[in-house]
Amino acid sequence: MNLISLALMIEMPTIVVLVKQVPDTNAKIAVQGDRVDLSSVKMEMSPYDSFAIETALRHKEAAGGTVTALTIGAAGTEKILKDAKAMGVDNIVRAWDDSWGELDSNALQSVLKESIESLGADTVYCGKSAADTGAGSTGPGLAERLGWSNASNVIGAEFSTDVTVSMPVESGVAKISVPLPAVISCDKGDFKPRKANVKGIMMAKKAQVELMTATAPASSVVVSNHSMPAAKPAGKTFEGGSSASQVVQLLRDEANVL
């Protein structure tokens, strides 16, 4: 029996990890005019996406198959795909069309659905949210469009014919079996993202980014402006530990929060 028929027989997963480029989470953000000015801000992969990559690589190590990192973005976003490649994903893909501009969640998820289908994936990992909007809509929204199961805010996973995830629920942490195909959104949890080694970085340099495109419906949600949050009025500062009792009194009498 050759390897291909063996692979078909035991149904190895075809895994896609969604990655997004965002501003460095340690960066200061400033607004120029009515838009955030990111011209001098370092861009990086959204931190939760590295947990998604780690989980995807562990899934492949347990069950075989392939891992493809997919981003939606203009050419300037390819560095995060190279970073994903250096961590160990097999393929890197960027979907884009110059007509897209800012996609709302409906348009973005439509593009992702089409891309995932043409990649033939049955398992998608992504960060629980991207560190720019923090919305967290993509995982569950994409799952619904594909008719797949999903789990969000996942902090651990075990792999067999399905994926058993750990996720926080009202009363604690639940172990939940998620049948494939599925979209799994990852939080920072049990898995520490692996560091790229020299060999990985060398391979990433040479790796080709595969390009694809899709059809995006018109956006019905349009960004009209960005603004800085209102500055807080200066508070009261006290010296020395004994002032703590005064602060407790103020919390009761002035702030009314106790």
């Binding site: 500062t237 530990g241 703590a244």
Partner: protein
């Protein structure tokens, strides 16, 4: 005029009081407000029937609402609620269910809204380092942060119609490891006391726990503390790569106020900072700052709280 549909938030099987905030958010967008109560027992909708400004209450009864599967929730709700703009609370579960509902109906979703002017919705981005205002045309799904909009008054007596629904549940819970302590999670607490690396060791978090138990607070931590000490789990982390919180009172102890941390807690109503370094950035965001070591300040703080509340 479009239909505004509010999905009541469920907490431990009952309607969360922030549902009344969702009604005023819906009214700020304009339109006729219907409140939908997901439930296994329709009697929990009784409290909602007294909300002012509501034209209809629908209790959607299904077994799926006893579980956590977002597909089950979304399909059951979708079958029972009319077309319109849908509002839900920006909690982990409702953001998930809302995303599925939006996708199911081919709508867009706007998450974490904190301000509404008609069809212009504002949400924090970069964990609160800036705000983003979007304009929405047509129907959408909108998740709204708790503790931001005023709750509508009660006094009305709206009729409750009960609809039975079934949903497409895709995942199965195998087991739940219950939280060892009865203490609240930072994402659901009205008061949070958090420690940073300035606490010196994870063992010293017991002093924060003692204060927390006195005032019914949750205990949180900075990223520095979570990354330094294995004993401090990520579930406690407040900040841009942890949880974003907006409690009534946030007490930061031994936390310098890195931009990452500030992003996750700056929208707290009142902030108390205890830090020995008078130049720590956290003091610029504190309503009440105490320049002292935690060893000096916390026992006094604890005693004063016990005297006041005990």
């Amino acid at each position: 005029m479009t239909n505004m549909i509010v999905i009541a938030e469920l907490t431990k099987g009952n309607v969360n009081p922030s549902t009344a905030e969702l009604v005023s958010a819906a009214k700020a967008m304009g339109g006729d407000v219907t409140v939908v109560v997901p439930c296994t027992d329709a009697s929990i909708a009784d409290g909602v029937s007294s909300y002012d400004g509501v034209s209809k209450v629908i209790a959607v009864k299904s077994d799926v609402f006893a579980g956590n599967d977002s597909s089950g929730w979304a399909t059951a709700l979708d079958s029972a609620i009319p077309a319109g703009t849908i509002l839900c609370l920006a909690t982990a579960r409702s953001k998930d269910v809302g995303s599925r509902l939006a996708a199911r109906r081919g709508l867009s979703i706007v998450q974490d809204v904190v301000s509404i002017e008609g069809s212009n919705l504002t949400s924090p981005i970069y964990s609160g380092k800036a705000n983003q205002t979007v304009s929405v045309s047509g129907d959408a799904v909108v998740s709204v942060r708790a503790n931001v909009f005023p709750a509508v008054a009660s006094g009305s007596s709206n009729e409750v119609s009960v609809v039975d629904a079934s949903g497409d549940v895709k995942t199965a819970v195998q087991e739940v490891m219950h939280r060892a302590s009865a203490r609240l999670d930072v994402s659901e607490a009205n008061i949070i006391i958090s420690g940073g690396r300035g606490m010196g060791s994870p063992a010293n978090f017991t002093h924060l726990e003692a204060v927390a138990d006195t005032i019914g607070a949750a205990v949180g931590a900075s990223r520095a503390a979570v990354d330094t000490w294995d004993e401090i789990p990520h579930s406690m982390q407040v900040g841009q790569t942890g949880k974003t919180v907006n409690p009534n009172l946030y007490i930061a102890v031994g936390i310098s106020g890195a931009i990452q941390h500030l992003a996750g807690m700056r929208s707290s109503k009142y902030i108390v900072a205890i830090n020995k370094d008078a130049d720590a950035p956290i003091f610029q965001h504190a309503d009440y700052g105490i320049v002292a070591t935690w060893e000096e300040a916390l026992p006094v703080f604890q005693d004063a709280l016990s005297n006041l509340l005990g």
